[in-house]
Symmetry: C2
Subunit: 247 residues, 2 copies
């Protein structure tokens, strides 16, 4: 499904290891780029600890505000994996071993001669009413309940789950981007760029400086869902930069 | 200043470019590791767009809840840099060109033969009552007002500002970490590890799987501010793993 309406999302990263600095998150940027590509606007990200109250509060704040909430992390077999239980509590539904997930895991463990211990079978605990999300790597599924999408934290696994669930998500108008790269400091173009924003109020404009290899450069980024408008804004900006000798 | 009390922090990343996926955030992990090192517990991270309402709401939620709020991004010279104004609004203080910042920037621009345009001098706009934070790279300062620390988004600049401001921050007991690396899947140790958590309820324990180069491995991480307790928990866990043939 897709259309011209606006579909929004938030990401909730769950994990002490991100907040302690032990692990560098690799999922936020991946999900952000994916959302932009398919026509979903990521509007907020939060990172919280493996703490039930913190998870429930963030889940309830974010699922109420955006079309979708995508969570990562905390659905493994160990005692610090509390996401599924916290989501069930946040949504006020029960949670138990899901027969479909039990079947998937039992078959997988039997094939590999791995004992289906209670800890391993914890990964089959799914909130009541959820749809499963396929995990093509290590089988233990993610799930979607209401507008909440619950994915693994391990990046490879998160990515295959995100691919699986995307077909079920509503998507909206795609945000298009035009970028102009300048070998100039931001301050050189700031006045011109601000005037350009006033001329095209419906195009989102951002300026991003960088100082790579001792050289200053700036990227001017224009964003709109309207390709004709975006092209007009881009051309007008190029002309204005040329006229001022800045290009 | 340091002590045995608990000092907490949140990070607020401000920028459309992170949410669109255009830019991969490099500041969250750096600040997280820095906080852990100096004895500040990072408890929450949020990423919001260059949107005044979104910034104000997040600033007021986070500064009320944690000892410190550290923001990154949105303090450059272009029209999309709205952090300083949004912070002033959130805190209910006025904002204007700060004489100290004007002096710093004027001197810097004069030395380099750069014109002090209104856009460039926007970077001297500082909420009333703030202390400046030194920017040893490109001069335009960050600032601290109340418990809110406002840093640049460009990673190099953010890092020198963070170094400058850290000496002014209260710090607490340092969180110590012990890590045990296993060539095992999480499921193999989950029951033992859960029992170990029950035996040492005051030590935070997390399990982190990875699948690098086709091999499964798991890191068991123990965390506590009490080094003797942490060592006891680590030794007991090693013995338990040995006894079960898991090490």
């Amino acid at each position: 499904m897709s259309g011209d309406d606006i579909v929004t999302a938030a990401v909730l990263v769950i994990g002490d290891e991100i907040l302690s600095g032990r692990t560098r998150d690799q999922n936020i940027n991946y999900i952000a780029a994916h959302c932009t590509r398919v026509g979903i606007r990521l509007q907020e990200v939060r990172v919280v600890a493996d703490d039930e109250d913190a998870i429930i509060e963030a889940v309830n704040a974010l699922r109420a505000r955006y079309t979708y909430l995508i969570t990562t992390g905390g659905i493994g077999p160990t005692h610090d994996d509390i996401t599924a239980d916290a989501i069930a509590k946040a949504l006020g539904v029960s949670i138990d071993h899901d027969p479909r997930a039990v079947e998937l895991l039992s078959t997988y463990f039997a094939k590999r001669g791995v004992e289906p211990t209670p800890a391993r079978m914890r990964m089959a605990r799914i909130p009541c009413g959820a749809e499963l999300i396929t995990n093509a790597i290590s089988v233990a599924p993610g799930f979607m309940i209401g507008n909440v999408v619950v994915l693994a934290g391990v990046p490879d696994v998160m990515q295959v789950m995100l691919d699986d669930v995307t077909a079920r998500l509503r998507t909206g108008a795609k945000m298009l981007t035009a970028t102009i790269q300048l070998s100039r400091a931001e301050g050189d173009v700031a006045d011109l760029f601000a005037a350009h924003q006033q001329e095209f109020p419906d195009v989102a404009m951002g300026s991003y400086p960088s100082f790579a290899e001792g050289r200053v450069s700036t990227q001017l980024v224009l964003r709109s869902t309207d390709s004709a408008l975006l092209e007009r804004a881009r051309e007008a900006l190029l002309l204005a930069l040329l006229a001022r000798g800045l290009l």
